[in-house]
């Protein structure tokens, strides 16, 4: 731990005057073609930023109609079929076209080469291809959703999806299937880059923890996505040609689909949350001006989560008719996967101890992340208890739980990361006041939206209900009211971030006084990232080292 440090971190940018470089990745070339044919990881990250932001607001629009419809117990706004298509669209868009790609493809793409002192990813053309594949998958899926829609939910449970649904199931799964290749290629690209292209001196245990998280997430992407592809193909085969795989009428087994689906879809939850955890692990040390507490444990916990995530899938099936013994094994394993998440939360909290804590905007998002993710994780402990899951499974309790993880966790972490690295990506600062306001509105709106859903769930309101008994109305109205606040919180950044491009103050290379190689190059970075390959001689997060002596 106490290895000799030969160079020291110089806090703040005072060592180097903030000076915009003449040529950066944004102004090096102009025109649509220069963007659509780029192989620069930074530009590809911006392409992804556009795509996933669009998808986020489309998925959000579906959620808005859902919440409006649930204001009344009789569901006056839309018909039952439309409602079913709306929640399916919301889930499909948000999971596959926002949550899974967002942090790896936007922040990961932009930062990975910068953080390891490389010029680009290992396979720049493959990186561009990934974006095209992703976009083609997204267009096909959107077309399927807009031209008639799909009403299976994002889970595609059989035999409903193969026998009963009369909607665009096959076009939708083709879209998702195609976008899966983008996930696999991105994951491979990241893994290879991290193995082969780290700057001299950047050992694994000197890597920023964001990269550990991205690495763990990439492993999941590469290993789990093919299983989803298989499951989707089998749905198509049964639906199109009546070959019995899942439908008991045709001699199939409906639970087989659930096993295949959750073998992908449980690890995928960690693809969503792990990179966001990585983001938070970068933000906290910077704004506490401290070393991360327990680097090795935090790094190992990312790998631990990735490994254990493959062995808990059947906890989605406790009431689906599996054997008691299998349920018990998966319950026990589900508790194990909570351990590494706990390690991270404890480490983040301990990092603040004796720090110099500055609640700038990214830090507000990071603290919000810890609070909401912790609540999501702790309610997960309730769901892992077989006796309780029996009651709350498939109710709004589950909805609230996974929105705490995916929205309170992953989206909050992404917003923190976007605000943290926005000055690096654009060279401009955004409004401190408006961004803090947005963080606050998102936090409050989120709590108001999803806390009532825990109560609703325990009362017994099932998920995916277009209408509901009148006694649930007041809680639903509270939830919808919260959602309207949340919506304001998500639209606000759109305005001040775009405004910052024109009116924001120049950020300088390192506005937060952060360690990390990405902050040692100008903002926005030049096309080749670094003028000369950096040499790394210290562990990351050496915020406490000073020009004089100083060992704590």
């Amino acid at each position: 731990m106490s290895s000799t440090i030969t160079t020291r971190f110089v806090p703040q940018a005072k060592a180097r005057p903030p000076r915009a470089p003449e040529v950066n990745y944004l102004n090096v070339a102009y025109g649509v073609k220069s963007w659509l044919l780029t192989t620069d990881h930074k530009r590809i990250a911006i392409l992804y930023l556009f795509t996933v932001t669009l998808m986020f607001f489309l998925g959000g629009a579906a959620a808005t109609v859902i919440r409006l419809n649930l204001m009344t117990p009789t569901g006056e706004l839309v018909t039952a079929d439309t409602y079913n298509k709306l929640f399916s669209a919301h889930g499909i868009i948000m999971v596959w076209f926002f949550l899974v790609p967002v942090v790896p493809t936007v922040l990961g793409n932009f930062l990975l080469p910068l953080m390891i002192g490389a010029r680009d990813l290992a396979f720049p053309k493959l990186n561009l291809l990934s974006w095209y594949i992703f976009t083609i998958g997204a267009v096909i899926t959107l077309w399927a959703i807009l031209a008639g829609g799909v009403d299976t939910g994002w889970t595609f449970y059989t035999p409903f999806s193969t026998r009963s649904a009369r909607t665009n199931v096959i076009p939708t799964i083709i879209g998702i299937f195609i976008s899966g290749f983008s996930s696999i290629l991105t994951g491979l690209n990241f893994i290879v880059t991290m193995h082969r292209m780290r700057a001299p001196g950047l050992t694994w245990f000197r890597m920023p923890l964001f990269l550990w998280a991205i690495y763990a997430g990439s492993i999941i992407l590469v290993l789990a996505t093919p299983v989803l592809a298989v499951a989707l193909i089998l749905i198509g085969v049964e639906r199109a040609w009546g070959i019995g795989i899942f439908d008991p009428e045709l001699g199939g087994d409906p639970l087989l689909f659930q096993h295949l689906f959750w073998f992908y879809s449980h690890p995928v939850v960690y693809i969503m949350i792990l990179p966001a955890m990585g983001v938070v692990t970068e933000i906290i040390p910077c704004f506490a001006r401290k070393n991360i507490y327990g680097y090795e444990f935090v790094a190992a916990s990312s790998v631990g989560i990735a490994v254990l995530s493959f062995f808990v899938w059947a906890h989605h099936m406790f009431v689906a008719g599996q054997s008691v013994y299998s349920a018990m094994i998966f319950s026990a394993l589900s508790y194990l996967v909570a351990v590494p998440s706990g390690v991270k939360v404890f480490s983040w909290t301990a990092t603040l101890y004796k720090g110099s804590v500055s609640l700038r905007t990214p830090m507000l998002f990071a603290v919000g992340f810890i609070a909401l993710f912790t609540m999501g994780g702790l309610t997960g402990l309730m769901l892992a208890a077989l006796g309780v899951d029996m009651h709350v499974h498939d109710t709004y309790f589950i909805i609230a739980h996974f929105h705490f993880i995916m929205v309170g966790g992953a989206v909050m972490g992404y917003m923190g990361g976007l605000h943290f690295w926005w000055p690096k990506m654009t060279g401009r600062m955004y409004s401190e006041f408006l961004s803090k306001l947005a963080a606050l509105i998102i936090f409050v709106g989120f709590m108001l939206t999803f806390l009532p859903q825990f109560v609703l769930g325990y009362l017994g309101m099932p998920r995916r209900y277009h209408v509901y008994p009148p006694e649930f109305q007041i809680l639903n109205v509270m939830s919808s009211a919260g959602a309207s606040i949340l919506a304001v919180g998500y639209v606000l950044p759109l305005f001040y971030l775009i405004w910052s491009l024109y009116g924001g103050k120049p950020a300088g290379p390192n506005p937060w006084g952060a360690t990390g190689l990405e902050w040692q190059t100008p903002s926005p970075p030049p096309p080749h990232n670094f003028d000369e390959t950096p040499i790394v001689t210290t562990a990351p997060y050496e915020y406490s080292l000073e020009e004089t002596d100083g060992v704590g």
Binding site: M1, P11, A80, N84, D151, T155, Y157, F160, R163, S164, A165, P254, A288, R289, N291, Y293, G294, F297, V319, A320, G321, V324, A327, M328, S331, Y335, L336, A338, V339, G342, V343, S347, T349, A350, L352, Y353, S356, V357, S358, I370, A371, L378, L381, M382, A384, A385, L386, G387, V388, M390, H391, H393, D394, T395, V455, Y458, L459, G460, R464, I474
Partner: protein, 351 residues
């Protein structure tokens, strides 16, 4: 206004009490964890707030002993949660042996219920208070889920197989019954009620809805479908005796053994070649497509009720159903007198 906000569901079964006890324990433990972390974050954020731009901080890298502590110690708490949860789950998986069995069939988008004494209902389930009831459930089409929040009981109703659950109601009243596995357009309307009644009231209800017991209905079906032809329990029988079969262990031709439960009997009716009993030929035709889920349940109820020596004798004439086995009924001396009209003239018809 907030006085009207419902916060906690009614508790109307023995399982509900157990589930709630565990839930309160979990709320307490996780609540303590959440509040401690929130308070620590708040305390650190205030106490160690940045006072000057050039604040300096001590270089703290961690403390292995503390880190191991917070890695290992939660596992002990988790172990309690796991064991407690598992104990409730296992007891819900084992119905009390004396509980009467009610059959439930889910279909898009209704619940069809058949009581042991033959009463049938749709979307309502009448049961007596203070006595356990076992449910055997299946689906005609897609996966549904039988969920009674007041009982804290939920089970996916999967097509092609039987699943079981049970509950012991402790309170009279009318409680929500929800389908909680998404099943298509009217998923949200696949709702009903469980009506828990006083014993006397329940007995009255049973009497007023009697239709002849399920087993009796099954017996009629057994004769009508010509099952009796082969499963005749006499010396010329071409199929195994079904008397006293339910719950017994059966030896199969391929050396396996199987317990004759609902699932096995169902499979043997729909897919007779799947598990053939030792010492018998696989000659039974499939009844898939000829009996629906409700009729299957009646047949099962009959087989279950069949005591030694009580296999019915074939006395009534039933028209054979479409696609029934073409072999003439055993013991019937006269073959059907179908008289063809287009005989060649030169041959005598007498013999």
């Amino acid at each position: 206004m907030f006085a009207e906000v419902p916060l906690f569901p009614e508790q109307a079964s023995t399982t509900a009490e157990r589930v709630d006890a565990l839930f309160f324990f979990l709320c307490a433990v996780t609540g303590i964890m959440a509040v401690s972390i929130a308070l620590l974050l708040l305390y650190f954020a205030v106490k160690y707030r940045r006072r000057a731009e050039d604040d300096r901080t001590p270089r703290i890298l961690g403390n292995k002993r503390l880190e191991w502590f917070w890695t290992i110690s939660p596992m002990f708490v988790f172990l309690i949660m796991f064991l407690w949860g598992a104990s409730i789950y296992t007891s819900v998986a084992q119905p009390p042996p004396d509980a009467p069995e009610v059959f439930v069939i889910g279909k898009q988008w209704m619940w069809k219920i058949q009581h042991p004494d033959g009463q049938r209902e749709i979307n309502d389930l009448h049961i007596p208070v203070g006595r356990p009831v076992k449910l055997t459930l299946t689906s005609e089409d897609v996966i549904h889920d039988f969920f009674v929040p007041a009982f804290r009981t939920k089970i996916d109703v999967v097509p092609g197989r039987y699943v079981h659950t049970w509950f012991h109601p402790t309170k009279t009243g009318r409680f929500h019954l929800f389908c909680s596995q998404y099943c298509g357009t009217s998923h949200a309307n696949m709702v009903g009620s469980v009506v828990v009644m006083e014993r006397a009231e329940y007995a009255e209800w049973l009497d007023s809805h009697a239709e002849g017991s399920l087993a009796l209905q099954g017996r009629k079906l057994f004769l009508k479908l010509q099952c009796i032809t082969c499963h005749s329990a006499n010396s010329q029988a071409r199929a195994p005796v079904l008397e006293d079969l339910y719950g017994r262990t059966v030896n199969l031709r391929d050396g396996r053994t199987v317990v004759a439960d609902n699932g096995y009997l169902r499979e043997s009716i729909l897919y007779p070649e799947a598990k053939v009993v030792q010492g018998w030929e696989s000659i039974m035709p499939t009844f898939k497509g000829q009996v629906n889920e409700e009729e299957l349940i009646r047949l099962l109820a009959f087989i279950k009720s069949l005591k030694p020596g009580r296999t019915p004798v074939r006395t009534e004439d039933f028209p054979p159903p479409l696609g029934a086995p073409e072999t003439p009924p055993g013991g019937n001396p006269k073959p059907p007198q179908a008289v063809p009209t287009n005989r060649p003239e030169g041959k005598s018809n007498r013999s």
